[in-house]
């Protein structure tokens, strides 16, 4: 790439691959530790599924908790459509915002935007967890 000609750089192979392999190895060590914990404290199972017995509190996994909490307080049709629309918005986002960045200001705007989104999602998740 022409823009990087003056910069300090390392070859992709072997230097950069070695760095990434080290990071991946660190992750694998963590995974092995988790696996050893799993031997002594397994993930476990709840009661077997029973279509006749509806439990009092059904909660999804944490990554759907925010959506689940949102759906409890907004009308069903909008609630079901909004995640689809959100994914569609994410998909077409680069076609809506095509202007190349000229200053750091746009980066800052995007940082605060995503910070607000993350805080809302985390707040909804915690709310869904404790409620």
């Amino acid at each position: 790439m022409s823009e990087n000609n003056e910069e300090k750089s390392v070859p992709f192979y072997p230097d950069h691959v070695a760095l990434e392999a080290k990071v991946a190895l660190g992750l694998i060590i963590l995974v092995v530790i988790i696996g050893v914990i799993g031997l002594f404290a397994p993930v476990g199972l709840g009661a077997p599924a029973d279509a006749m017995d509806t439990p009092a509190h059904i909660k999804p996994e944490w990554y759907f908790l925010a959506l689940y909490q949102l759906l409890r307080y907004i009308p069903e049709t909008i609630g079901a459509t909004s995640p689809v629309l959100a994914v569609v918005l994410l998909l077409i986002w680069p076609f809506l915002d095509q202007k190349p960045d000229r200053s750091k200001k746009t980066t800052e705007i995007r940082f605060w935007l995503s910070l607000v989104a993350v805080i809302i999602i985390i707040a909804l998740t915690i709310w869904g967890k404790v409620s």
Partner: protein, 320 residues
């Protein structure tokens, strides 16, 4: 580069050692705790003991009834001995010729490369320089997601060896994996937590790309494939969650598919498509299992290919 190969080898060997030790300790400490059929209804039927298992037995007993077993063993060990003799002769000839020693892996790679001409094809991809600003941890998030996907693939295959996707057997097969299979609970634990980690990593990667504005032209399609991969990751979580067939899984899936069913116009179609009928039955389990182990992995690998090729071609966007 040599040091990273050595590190990989050390980490792989010590992982195996740690897992084997932990499995041994676990087998030793847990042997007196659980005996199946202690009046607990939730414990699955234990498999037959080795001495009562006809099929297990028939492979072991009456082995020496004909001449072919000893002849086969002579042939096997004979070939091993010939390979050893060849190695000694080869080492001696290299030593006598005073030519440079080439390790066997290098020679094998060179031999394959002579035939496939792969290095010519790989050279432009591998030789591309990586600037120093790109060697920061926040550029690793995508790679870590991929590493976790590989871990999910390996542990998922391990679990699929023992999992049975029918409502009558799914629950018991997971109990079998957790209680009886060697390192079964380890693989289930790793599968469970790397699934969570993969969602966190993929989301963090997306945030990084969004904040830096790396989705702008010419990288729009890379963003689109990335969002698709995030949706695929969530779909993995959703389909995988039903597979244990316990109360939480069953009712979370009921609620989840109902949300899909309340989309206007296509709601009923989506509901029937997700459940394979109007209610959650064995058909739902089969189709979630098929999606989880066949459709989603294939689609994900395809989009990952596109994602990585575009990253290599266009390079990572330089921040301001």
């Amino acid at each position: 580069m040599k040091s990273i190969y050595r590190t990989i080898l050390i980490v792989a060997l010590s992982s195996i050692l740690v897992l084997a030790t932990a499995a041994g300790v676990h087998a030793y400490t847990a042997s007196n705790q659980s005996s199946p059929g202690e009046g607990n209804d939730l414990i699955a039927q234990a498999p037959p003991e080795p001495e009562n298992d006809t099929c297990f037995q028939c492979h072991v007993v009456e082995e020496y009834t004909n001449i072919w077993t000893p002849l086969g063993r002579w042939a096997l060990f004979g070939v091993a001995g010939l390979i050893l003799l060849f190695g000694i002769a080869r080492s001696a000839s290299v030593w006598r010729s005073k030519s440079e020693w080439v390790p066997i892996p290098t020679r094998i790679l060179a031999w394959i490369d002579e035939r496939y001409q792969l290095s010519e094809f790989m050279k432009p991809i591998l030789a591309k320089p990586v600037p120093d600003w790109q060697r920061r941890w926040w550029y690793c998030l995508g790679g870590l997601t991929f590493t976790l996907f590989l871990i999910q693939g390996i542990t998922g295959i391990m679990l699929a060896f023992y999992y049975k996707p029918t409502p009558t057997e799914a629950y018991a097969s997971i109990q079998f994996i957790e209680n009886e299979v060697l390192l079964g609970s380890t693989f289930r634990m790793i599968h469970h937590w790397s699934a969570n980690g993969m969602i966190v990593m993929a989301f963090a990667h997306m945030l990084r790309v969004f904040i830096m504005g790396a989705y702008k032209p010419p990288r729009e399609l890379n963003w689109v494939s990335g969002v698709t991969l995030l949706v695929m990751t969530l779909a993995f979580g959703f389909t995988g969650y039903l597979l244990p067939w316990d109360q939480r899984a069953y009712w979370a899936t009921t609620v989840g598919t109902e949300i899909g069913g309340s989309i206007p116009i296509i709601g009923d179609l989506a509901l029937v498509f997700l459940r394979g009928g109007w209610s959650i039955t064995s058909l739902t389990l089969s189709r979630f299992f098929a999606a989880h182990i066949l459709i989603l992995p294939l689609v994900t690998v395809g989009f990952m290919g596109l994602h990585f090729i575009m990253v290599r071609k266009q390079g990572v966007m330089k921040p301001l």
